[in-house]
Symmetry: D2
Subunit: 277 residues, 4 copies
């Protein structure tokens, strides 16, 4: 398996030469490199994958010494990421993730599923994945999130996937888990922000609907977009038909975004993502 | 060539049977029928194409006698529609339409092109299509539209195509030509309404951009959508790259929407379209 | 729920008028009609859905009396279709169908799964669906199909879905179950007929791969196509990467084709399908 | 404008480090780098774009000295490529290229158009591009290609684009101009190789059609694929309707492939292309 290095820093001449030099010295076998410079912010991004044993700490130190100040360097050892999934009632995204987990179509471990309704407990049981019912009934939003956070504290997941979790998160919760929260929004953002996007799409008479997987930030539906896909519709579609047609796209887009994040192919930069596929 | 009947009326039982009965009596050769009932509004839509000679006025009378009150019946004889094109500076949509006009890839006649800038006069000259320069320089919006309307009054077009016409029309102008005005908006509406949609898309970090052909109503960018298409983009695209990538989609979508309208396949119903393809 | 009428017959004038007349007399509530005439073969196809009670046998008799000779008339009462699924080792299509069955995203009953390998027995157990292991080990093709046919005779399914069943069927078997056998082929047919289509696609250096759901006939990979979809690939994809990328398309296309068949929206005509969506 | 370096050679460790080192010494401003290693053939590909003045010959010498034996190194100075276009009767691809040439949507110069029919002479005249009518009437294939080659010798084009040139080229001609000949094939290769692909697609009842831009080699329709795109069709499409629907895809795909080649983003490797977009 591969080790991944992710670097983000101020751009300057010769970075690729110098970075690859450090790896060349270590005699590792580089399997892929990707670079990108965001010209608006003059920021350099690089992802390197390599096989072979090496002194990771030494490479990290050498990179930080050589790179411009405030560089971010992540050296990610090959290990399976641990994921918590948050759900409400809809099964299609959860089902997709559980199947892909069971057969390791995606390289991750589903630690547990947290649901604010009980509907999906049986599905989790079928896949022998712990399900925790955390009702929001009669609780303040803050109190409910405290209960979620207790579970999150227990499992210490690398990622938290909102697989059709239909409650709005507080900015505090979103900030606390920033960079770890992936949501699937059932519209082609930024169209139809907010509630009932398929009803909105129906009302507007659009000819294409879509789904958007994105990181969650404190600003609802405004976080960095990872993946989007669309599906054609027409005048014969009711809002309910659009919702049905959208479900397959939702689950595919969410799984695709998750794969990119699990493979450490995604950089978050300001309100955007950089994907090295 | 085919005669087209378009019917829109309150739904009731037996409409298809009764309508096709009137045509059966006339012994015409029906080549295609399409029906749709919008359940929200309980409204019935039907398009029939047929070949063969018949007494059009009699059919129209029989249909109106038989159909529920306030039915709309259009019997459209096979003739080429006449089109005015409004442009500003960008050539890609106009070029597409002129090529398709010259070779009759679309069954229409381009009567003339009106431009609020002179840039596209030479392109029109290449295709021997009259170009009228109607500068908005120093004019009120109303006065400028008066000048447009003079030309429109002269040409009496069946349709007016806004082929990247970059001025906002007044509600009065839009209302006056309601149902005849087709616009291409360079975004996947309703995302990025208003000015500079590609810059907005770039700022938002979307992974797909699109274009929307729609009828123009008094509410800017809110008219009934005819066609939409999309194209994938990624983090390496600047706003300018997105704009370039979008141009091919814009022209294809506009031409496709125009074809549907020229073939009388489009019904406008409230703020939506019904397309019988 | 709706009753469906499917009619296929020689084309002649007035068919729509006469057919809808018979239904109008019965005072049922027609919810959708679709018609198509194949001009090459001069054949008329119509699908009508309606709600309300009526004398089905009388309608059938009236239609057959009125329609041209050798007309095919199916009046399909609303009931859930029963399906057998054949598999080998790959789980992705089966998983998709089992999830959609469990939650009735598709209106069908999975009677049982037959596998020529045992790999997918546990997945069926998770969904409490009977799995029958019918090894082909050491058997002639004919003998193996006899064993399959015993199960088919037991379950009397309306449809048999080959969900990545990786054995070639004999023409006899295919003919016997003609019109009931739906296969997913992992290429964009007719490209890459036969074995290992992703390896073929890789070798050819294509930039798009796809999947095709089709009815099975006696001619391998040549049966009537129901649905096709594609996904972009590039030079960085190995044959294995293409295979992975194709799996999501395969399962979505298969489920979509199955939905159309379950909803009686598909006519088979010669080597093609007519879809009334 | 940018200078481009294209390198193809046997893979070995440290290539990126060494190559970027040579450029770093020259103090040029690298704007983009892309690398790929084809593992089947153990071959390394790199594209570098940079701005700034430098000693091109020195860089070329240093690279060749440093790289493994038989490395290919192209240093491409920023200049407009010159293109000959070959056509028969269909206007849509030629029209697209002429519009894009006139407005420099693509960075190229159309030197002349050669046609084996006269039909498109007027279109070239509209765009003030020389048209040479080279009839094949009564000539052997070899003799006709000699006449083409005379014009090619006169214009010395960087690229020759077959924009719906409907004659089969001899292997000799294809070999002679290998790497310079770009063709648009009106199908989703390798489906429907050979004549009348839309008729073939119609006969097969496919639900998606496509177009393929590829380099021409001595093996008809088998050259390295550059770009492919598709468009959905259904049972209502005649072969002629498919042909119409395909035209827009053909011209867009051809223009896209041409852009990639004009920007030196395409490597030919065996029978495939590597695209650095």
């Amino acid at each position: 398996m591969e080790t991944i290095i992710k670097i983000a820093c101020r751009d300057e001449k010769g970075l690729v030469h110098k970075i690859t030099g450090i790896l060349f010295e270590q005699m590792v076998n580089v399997t892929q490199t990707n670079e990108f410079v965001d010209e608006d912010s003059d920021r350099f991004f690089m992802r390197i994958s390599f096989t072979g044993t090496c002194d990771v700490e030494k490479i990290q130190r050498q990179l930080l010494d050589m790179l411009p100040a405030q560089a971010e360097v992540d050296i990610i050892s090959p290990k399976q990421k641990r994921v918590l999934i948050l759900v409400t009632k809809e099964h299609h995204c959860l089902g997709e993730l559980l199947i892909k987990y069971q057969y390791q179509d995606l390289n991750f471990k589903v630690e547990a599923v947290l649901g604010n309704h009980e509907d999906l407990a049986p599905l989790c049981a079928q896949f022998q994945v712990p399900f925790h019912f955390i009702s929001a009934e009669g609780l303040s939003r803050d109190r409910h999130e405290e209960l979620l956070d207790e579970q999150i504290a227990t499992y210490q997941p690398d990622l938290i996937v909102l697989a059709k979790y239909m409650r709005i998160l507080t900015p505090q919760f979103s900030l606390k888990h920033r960079g770890k929260l992936i949501n699937i929004h059932h519209s082609f953002l930024p169209a139809f922000i907010g509630a009932r996007p398929y009803q909105q799409a129906y009302n507007r008479g659009v000819k294409i609907i879509g789904a958007t997987a994105h990181f969650v930030t404190d600003d609802l539906d405004e976080g960095p977009i990872i993946c989007q896909e669309v599906v054609p519709v027409n005048h014969t579609y009711s809002a309910k038909d659009m919702s049905k047609a959208g479900k397959d796209v939702e689950k595919i887009v969410l799984a695709k975004a998750l794969r990119l994040v699990l493979e450490d192919r995604v950089f978050i930069h300001q309100n955007k993502t950089i994907l090295f596929e």
